[in-house]
Amino acid sequence: MKKILTTAIAASLVAAVPALADTVKVGYMTTLSGGAGIIGKQMQNAVNLAMEHTGGKLGGMDAEVVFVDDQRKPDVAKQLANRLVKSDKVDVVAGVIWSNLMMAIHKPVTRSGTLLISSNAGPSPIAGAGCHENFVSMSWQNDQTPEGMGKYMQDAGIKSVYLMAPNYQAGKDMLSGFKRHYKGEVVAEVYTQLGQTDFQAELSTLRAAKPEATFIFQPGGMGINFVKQWNQAGMDSVSKLYTVFTVDGVSLPALKDTAVGVVSTQTWSPDLDNAMNKKFVADYKAKFGGYPSFYAAQAYDTMMAIDYAAGKAGSSDSAAMRDVLAKGGIPTTRGSLAMNSNQFPIQNIYLREAVMDADGVATTKVIGTVFENHGDAYAKDCKF
């Protein structure tokens, strides 16, 4: 008797529970182990922070975020992407730091009908002829940031510039992006070795050439090495240093005051004046000790974009979310983000300077806006 009663009560309770709401499933791919793990770590921190801010939900629905470590290997990334899409059946695959990994997973993910959102990588093939409607970028296209620097230096009337970047695809993209808007004299275009640690020889040649300005792209450890050695060789008295992706939230803790005064262009800066950014930077600093890098900001924006899209679409359906995002007007740490026809952002490009803040910590400060509502150069080649 007791058994029947308890069963009946249990059954009625089960019947009383409403149908389970949709769950938004996100597969977040970065490099967590190995050399570049610091970047992946920052992005993971930002994603977790975003989930805290949304109360663990995306678009008001239950959310599940699966972190995967691509180990910076394309075959691992491919295997993980397949798993996320076919087995975990995620609604969104997001993240991806490196251009080559993005090239490896772009087709399989987008073709499967799953939404692919980039938190960083933006190689030109997927912005142009190789584009796909299931891809949305929450970062930028690789050429945009150096284009900003080129325009700034052109408008500022800088007569001669010395160019330097590592000898790989991204390096070449950066310098060609720069030259798209800069029409002055290019004194030299020097390609250094990938992973180079000592730039003394290049600096000696630079000093002999006495260019008015020097524009460099040296990401990661190379940037730390270059700026340190630039400083140690007293090069500021010879030429003014302009950079992209060299002085940022990842390299500044190691550079400290040796980077002060270095100018860069970027689509974001920790001091951008909007409510979302202020909250993000303050909470990130409080929780993880140190300013977030642009990688972290973009990762945060990605999750907030998914939150926005899922909420507006009212479901976790990939196509529905994609349609929302394609329209633009997404709330991000850069303000309301507009979308281009190839689903890459149309955004401002700011001029920033490395400074020491009130607590003596190195960070960047916006000192001007170079481009307003800038779209990338490849959108016209993209036809869905």
């Binding site: 967590l32 182990s33 190995g34 793990g37 992946g40 770590k41 470590d69 180990q71 290997k73 394309p74 075959d75 491919k78 295997q79 397949n82 798993r83 076919k86 087995s87 251009s99 080559n100 090239m103 490896a104 772009h106 087709k107 399989p108 190689p123 093939p125 190789g130 000898n167 790989y168 695809q169 991204a170 070449k172």
Partner: protein, 328 residues
């Protein structure tokens, strides 16, 4: 002995290898039933890596030639597929013939130039050649440079690769054929001479045989096997980039062979299985045991490799032999 007898005898002597091959053949049945189809991807990666390792093992394990550049052949095989597709050629059989041809020719050239040296000098020369090939492909902007090229699965007339398991069994067939080929080679007169050269080159010379043609031939065959692995890899990954031929991938191949057991037929495949499985399982384990240090899983991986060296002479196959009382 007839070929069939050799085959059966070889299977008997290299049970581990044939057990693994059988395992791989049956694996998709398990993943199908358990609804874990994504594990097939891991299995395909293991098979391809095992095939490349087998190729290298012919010269490294049996021939005593420590080539640090074999990942370059894998890369060239992959780019044969990539570049062909760039020019509109999608026939997988032609890709394979191209890969075998290109790697054979390249293996001949590099082998001829490098095999004049030996020991650590040979290692560095092969490394130098591999680096040059790597930088060459990085500089080819037309084919994506180091960002690589997104490609499609090759079309094998008769075999439709878009059916889920066709590629799997194609790779399996290539792996099995390579294994059988290597088994015949190792037991042939050629193979015996090659191993004798590894043991004592001057003695072989004293017997009136010129070592160099044997070494070069072995080198070419191993290059072609790696090229085949590379071509299939490109179809699986649907992407080619110079990453595949970075010197660290060559090092990885060597590590796998040593881990599995140098100079054994089963070693390379066993090494590939264990190595990639560890890469999959260790991070998961760390997530459970020490979640704060989950991404530092290599701090366990390193000592495992050291432990294998200290306690398992002859690699994992050495361990297998001791456990099964001398049989492999």
């Amino acid at each position: 002995m007839g070929a069939l007898k050799i085959l059966l005898d070889g299977a008997n002597r290299n049970r581990t290898l044939f057990v693994l091959l059988a395992g791989f053949a049956l694996f998709p049945i398990y993943t199908g039933i358990a609804d874990l189809p994504f594990w097939n991807d891991l299995a395909m990666r293991i098979m391809i890596l095992g095939m490349a390792a087998m190729g290298l093992n012919l010269v490294l394990g049996y021939g005593g030639m420590v080539s640090f550049g074999h990942a370059a052949f894998v890369g060239v095989g992959a780019y044969c597929v990539g570049i062909s597709q760039y020019y509109g050629l999608y026939n997988g059989w032609i890709h394979i013939i191209m890969a075998l041809g290109a790697c054979g020719a390249l293996g001949l050239a590099i082998g001829y130039l490098s095999l004049r040296t030996s020991g650590i000098y040979f290692i560095m020369i092969t490394l130098a050649f591999a680096q040059m090939l790597f930088f060459l492909f990085v500089s080819l902007e037309q084919f994506g440079g180091d960002d690589g090229m997104s490609i499609d699965r090759a079309e094998f007339i008769i075999i439709d690769l878009w059916e889920p398991l066709r590629l799997y069994y194609l790779i399996w067939a290539a792996l099995t054929l390579s294994s059988i080929l290597l088994m015949f080679i190792v037991r042939s007169r050629f193979g015996v001479v090659l191993q004798a050269i590894k043991g004592n080159e001057s003695r072989v010379e004293a017997m009136g045989l010129a070592p160099l043609p044997f070494k070069i031939t072995g080198y070419v065959i191993s290059a072609m096997i790696c090229g085949l692995a590379g071509a299939l890899f490109a179809s699986w990954q649907e992407y080619v980039s110079p990453d595949i031929m970075h010197w660290t991938r060559s090092g990885e191949l060597m590590i796998i062979i040593i881990l599995g057991g140098l100079g054994t037929l089963s070693g390379p495949l066993l090494g590939a299985v264990v190595f990639l499985l560890l890469e999959e399982i260790l991070p998961e384990l760390m997530h459970v045991v020490a979640p704060n240090y989950a991404e530092n899983w290599m701090i366990i991986f390193g000592p495992i490799l050291i432990a294998v060296v200290l306690f398992a002479r002859g690699g994992l196959m050495g361990l297998v032999q001791r456990v099964t009382g001398g049989r492999t």
